[in-house]
Amino acid sequence: MEPQLQIRLTRAPINHVELTEAVRSPLCGAVVSFLGTVRELTQGRQTTYLEYDAYEPMAESELRKLAEQAAEKWGLHAVAITHRLGALDLGEIAVAVAVSSPHRREAFEAASEIMSVMKQTVPIWKKETWADGETEWIHPE
């Protein structure tokens, strides 16, 4: 059976309940969800807010590839990924991933790997606005 994939970029707050409900099924015993939220402190430095920008068509296609590959590798029933763009306050959800699978281990491995690969391949960038007013695009070496 083809896995169900739901990929979204949005400028509105992410409804994580909707993602989790989207992947649930009586065929699956396990649902794993991940929320990446805006953290107040990074190595002791205070964030005021974050902005995310994306190369949107490619970000969507890379997220879809990622979801397809994870579904195939781990035998997932469904994968839902939503990434927020624009300005986010502290505590808001930047990214939400939900996966379902007949078994627990595969669901954990898949969700964890989706997040790791996303941070390497999906053209989305984060700009910090620090409490001292400085702004900084984050570009890992």
Binding site: V122, I124, W137
Partner: protein, 81 residues
């Protein structure tokens, strides 16, 4: 050929725009694009060795050719998620 390059994040700040137009030889590679970008925008050299290029929405290696009419994007390492 004339190539329009979409620019993002720190690169967009450095070039001062979300898209720049470069004049490249017909058989130009990704490496040639980098070189031309550094020449027109010397400040971009601060990102040398870090910039990624996508051609028609797929990552392209330094040696890849840039086909005429392709959608080309250039950006520093990603930090979503």
């Amino acid at each position: 050929m004339t190539v329009t390059v979409l620019c993002f994040a720190r690169l967009k700040e450095l070039v001062g725009s979300g898209r720049v137009t470069l004049e490249l030889p017909a058989d130009a590679s990704v490496k040639d694009l980098h070189r031309e970008l550094f020449q027109q925008f010397p400040a971009v050299e601060s990102l040398a060795g870090q910039l990624l290029v996508a051609v028609n929405g797929e990552y392209a290696s330094d040696d890849a050719a840039i086909p005429a009419g392709a959608e080309v994007a250039c950006f520093p390492p990603v930090s979503g998620g």
